[in-house]
Amino acid sequence: MGHPSDYGDEMDRVHPRLIDAALQGRETGEPALDRAARVVADLRRVLLEEPPSEAAGHLDAMVTAAADGARGSSVLSKRRSGRRRRLSTLPLAAALVLGAGLAWGAVGLPERATETAEEALGAAQERKDAFSKDEEAAGAATEETTHGDEVSAVAKDDSLKGCEKGQAVSAVASSKGNKQGPVHDPCAKGSEAAGQDASAKGKQTAEDARAAAKAKQEAKGDATVEDHGGGPPEGSGPPAGAPGNSGSSAGSGANGNGKP
């Protein structure tokens, strides 16, 4: 589609400044260009000088859009927050499961296991932090809400109980500030109690085994029954990794093999 112009070549030779002058509707001294400049001047006059007749309605629409936009951005913020929460759920869940397992395994060796758990939690947290860096760039305004939501989500999580839950909540809550305070192990007291419980169970198991062996030997009439009990000395408790100690779940946790 073309409009072949007799003036095409002539216009090509016109200085750009004259073209600009014509586009502003000014005289240029070039007859052909001046004719065009007059049209341009008319266009500017008739198209620019007539204001919108529905200006009030337009302004109302703009103010309404601005108000809707404020609400819309709030909704968008919630959506982003929800997305951030979903994205952060995976590493957080992994950290919680790992942390819970390590906390469970820390019954017999609280100090070492706690350190290991914290190392693992720290690594998981680092991965989570790296994962969410780009999300943080999307809006620092939602950061507080999101961090609070994460802590809240862990606090409301029913899959963890007692000190393990407290530890998980603490780990998430303190992760934002990267606090480097002294390590506090809320499960330490509980693990001592669990250890005592495991010890009692071990004793009971040993006694049961001794009684069973004695009964067996008595049945066979063997007089050397004393050397074949197989159980630990009374009161010694279950040794770490000792065979025959697997009957107690608490005891198996106490052997320190809870590490991944």
Binding site: H3, D6, Y7, I19, R45, L59, M62
Partner: protein, 186 residues
Amino acid sequence: MIGQAFGSTLQAARDGEPSALEALYRDLAPAVLGYLRGQRAVEPEDLTSEVFVGMVRGLDGFRGDERSFRSWLFSIAHRRLIDERRRLARRREDAVDPSDLAGRLAGSAVGDAEDEAVARLGRGWAVRTLDVLTEDQRSVLLLRILADLSVEDVARLLVKRPGAVKTLQRRALASLARHLERQGVS
């Protein structure tokens, strides 16, 4: 042009301040409406409203000075215009400008009577002159003379090279000059 107060006006408009929104509207609406009329939009007033609503919704994402803002706003206007044309094409409606309709109603009368009818509508003659231009020439010319955009801004908006825009504006002026000569305008 708003000038030095543009930055604060823009920020207030982002915050939804009605007076700031009105200031932007008062400054730019005539040019936007003129551009849409010059492009023969079927409902230029409605489209202008859509453009400014789109502007309000996009304010948070805009970064730049007043000149960039003007260019950005006209890019919204141009997109809305194209949307309207596509919509009309789908509906197979005949996009008739009221001034053009008045000309048609004046009948297929000889040129003088038609011109008189159109002239009564004020902007008729000058707008009708734009019909001699190609679509690209008209867009370039209107963006240059009504929106006061630079060649580079127009090139960016129309997704063309600056050299192509310069050529289009030269050709547009040449076409207008030739048309006027044929009309006997000296």
